[in-house]
């Protein structure tokens, strides 16, 4: 009897490719990320909590979460609208607009930041008009919302668009033949079908906004307790060589992202199951 490689793989390169994958993943991602927890552990629970929940940190969480939520909500509404007009209607410039929707992904965040500041500061095209109405856009929480809306713009559009494209017109025709008005068709038939994708898009935009830094620092004014987001606070602590403080806030923010990631996965799993059973 020869020695058997019973689970021998037919295609070659399993050891090499998996070995390289795991090594690279471990060195670049897993090991460095684990240092966050190592550093937090050196603090001890009590001190960690104290550092992570100073009034300034709490204010930063509040402004980050609040602005991210508002921005993601704006993007959910207008993203849905944009996805609708891009898939349902044929109009001049549609393809051009469709291609431009991805621009916030392609544009360096620093460029987005200074561009938005130029437009919405009190000397800017739009900012000056708002100033006349007594609204200060840049260097206020509104500025943060503006920046986060900009960078999250493509998410809802790009998650809802393929679902809308896949919907069969027969469904709507059936509803119409049963006497439903156009509005009833939309909110009773279409909306439930695109809801999972819309929520996924919302969650993705929200998650992206939580960690955003580059586009916000230029427009927010960066005043502690007022317009200081969590990413910026981490940055400030780093510049003061306060590594434990930076790490504690980072761990809190990372925890929030992971919870969101979990929700996104559940939503996608739900949507997938729905699509299969259809």
């Amino acid at each position: 009897m020869t020695t058997r490689r019973r689970n021998a793989r037919v295609l070659p390169g399993f050891g090499l490719s998996l070995g390289f994958t795991l090594t690279y993943l471990g060195l670049i991602v897993l090991f460095p990320l684990s240092l966050l927890f190592w550093k937090s552990a050196t603090l001890g629970w009590g001190e960690f909590w104290a550092v992570a929940t100073t009034p300034r940190a709490l204010a930063a969480y509040r402004i980050t979460l609040g602005a991210s939520f508002i921005a993601a909500s704006i993007n959910m509404g207008f993203g849905l609208l944009l996805a609708w007009v891009l898939t349902r209607y044929r109009w001049k410039g549609r393809q051009f607009v469709d291609a431009l929707v991805d621009l916030p992904f392609a544009l360096p965040t620093a460029v987005s930041g200074i561009a938005l500041t130029a437009v919405y500061s009190k000397h800017g095209v739009i900012g000056s008009k708002l100033e006349a109405l007594g609204i200060q856009a840049a260097f206020s929480p509104i500025g943060i919302v503006l920046a986060l809306t900009f960078i999250g713009l493509p998410f809802v559009v790009r998650t809802v668009q393929p679902v809308l494209e896949d919907l069969e017109p027969e469904v709507e025709e059936a509803a119409a033949s049963l006497g439903a008005s156009r509005w009833q068709v939309f909110h009773r038939v279409l909306l439930p079908m695109i809801l999972p994708a819309t929520l996924t898009g919302f969650a993705l935009a929200f998650a992206r906004a939580l960690g955003e830094y580059g586009s916000v620092v230029f427009i927010s004014g960066n005043m502690p307790m007022k317009t200081e987001i969590a990413s910026l606070l981490i940055m400030t602590k780093l510049e003061q060589y306060d590594y434990p403080g930076a790490t504690a806030i980072a761990v809190m923010m990372l925890g929030a992202s992971f919870v969101l990631l979990l929700i996104i996965n559940l939503l996608q799993w739900h949507a997938q199951r729905h699509r299969v059973s259809r």
């Binding site: 020869t2 058997r4 019973r6 037919v10």
Partner: protein, 364 residues
């Protein structure tokens, strides 16, 4: 080169793909693996070819164990169900691939590669299409490219997975006759998988009938067709009528009538299934001295090469009979007519459920 497999077993989770399979294919034979989907035939072919590994058991090529030999060293030509042609290469480059990847020392010269590829393309009647891409070919043409590509490396064994599976009926017919002729020219030991019994019968020297990961029967097309060893085989190889009854003293009792059974049939069984093919039954307008039962004509389908008649037996079971057009005209069958059914002088098959297994017999 002969192929032998011994005690092959393979499972995917709870699903048994290969129960305990033993098979020998002689040098130069063309063998069909026949069975319904899920029977394990593709798995068996892939294990022979080295594309899959069995959980246990051995594979021998020409008496030498090859169980653990790598795919690229087995010298098998494998023709995939969906062809697996290289999409980005022309027909010529597809066929030349196996020659071009050889190590420098054994690689033929460019001129002889060209020569050999063109000869193969002529052999599969694709000489004029060498510069096309696979996406520009019809299904039948792709299949022939796949075959030429496999033959280019002069394999000792040719394995074909559902070679005509994705083609339409007419192309299938042509291609399988062509494959048979090609094999008669080349004599490469070949095994092909099919779920189409007609295809297996028409092309193969021997047929291996598989079901649920086991081999049910091996034999020439005549042997398996006229001497099925199990109800499954009898059933699988063609249309069949099933009658429920009981068996005693060499006779089958169906409702109020009794029929004589072949000698080798089970002697006794309270619940028996009698299998008989529609074309092995005959109809008559009056009793003719043979054992018979009565039946009423329900439907007549006179299309095709034979006339299919649906009837109800006197004990109430529906069944089907196939007769020739001449016979149909001579009998002047009409719907609702009463006829006399006799069995032709060929095999029927009896299976008794409690106890003593399955037997078959010939003649009446």
């Amino acid at each position: 080169m002969s192929i032998e497999v011994r005690n092959l077993k393979k499972r995917f989770g709870d699903y048994v793909a290969l129960g305990d399979v033993n098979l020998r294919v002689e040098t130069g034979e063309l063998v069909a693996l026949l069975g319904p989907s899920g029977a394990g035939k593709t798995t068996l072919l892939r294990v022979i070819g080295g594309l899959d590994h069995a959980d246990s058991g051995e594979v021998f090529f020409h008496g030498q164990e090859t169980t653990d030999r790598a795919l690229r060293e087995r010298e098998v030509g494998f023709v995939f169900q969906h062809y697996a042609l290289f999409r980005h290469m022309t027909v010529f480059e597809n066929v030349a691939f196996g020659l071009r990847v050889r190590p420098k020392t054994t690689r033929p010269t460019e001129a002889s590669i060209k020569d050999r590829v063109m000869r193969l393309l002529d052999l599969v009647h694709l000489g004029g299409l060498s510069t096309r891409f696979p996406s520009q070919l019809s299904g039948g043409q792709r299949q022939r490219v796949a075959l030429a590509r496999a033959l280019a490396v002069e394999p000792k064994v040719l394995l074909l997975d559902e070679p005509f599976g994705s083609l339409d009926a007419k192309v299938r017919q042509e291609l399988r006759r062509w494959l048979r002729r090609l094999h008669d020219e080349l004599h490469t030991t070949s095994v092909f998988v099919t779920h189409d019994q007609e295809e297996a019968m028409e092309v193969a020297d021997r047929v291996v009938i598989m079901n649920k990961g086991e081999i049910e029967q091996i034999g020439t097309p005549e042997e398996v067709y006229f001497g099925p060893k199990s109800a499954f085989v009898y059933n699988f190889l063609g249309n069949v009528n099933l009658f429920q009854g009981r068996v005693e003293g060499g006779r089958a009792y169906l409702g109020s009538v009794s029929l004589p059974l072949p000698d080798a049939s089970p002697a006794k069984g309270d619940s028996a299934t009698i299998y008989v093919r529609p074309h092995l039954l005959d109809l008559a307008d009056q009793p003719n001295g043979l054992d018979h039962f009565r039946a009423k004509v329900e439907h007549i389908h006179p299309t095709g090469s034979t006339v299919k008649v649906e009837l109800t037996a006197e004990w109430g079971e529906p069944f089907q009979v196939e007769i020739s057009h001449e016979r149909y005209r001579a009998l002047a069958l009409r719907r609702g007519m009463e006829t006399f059914v006799t069995l032709r002088n060929e095999s029927l098959f009896v299976e008794t459920t409690p106890g003593d297994g399955m037997m078959f017999g010939e003649g009446i």
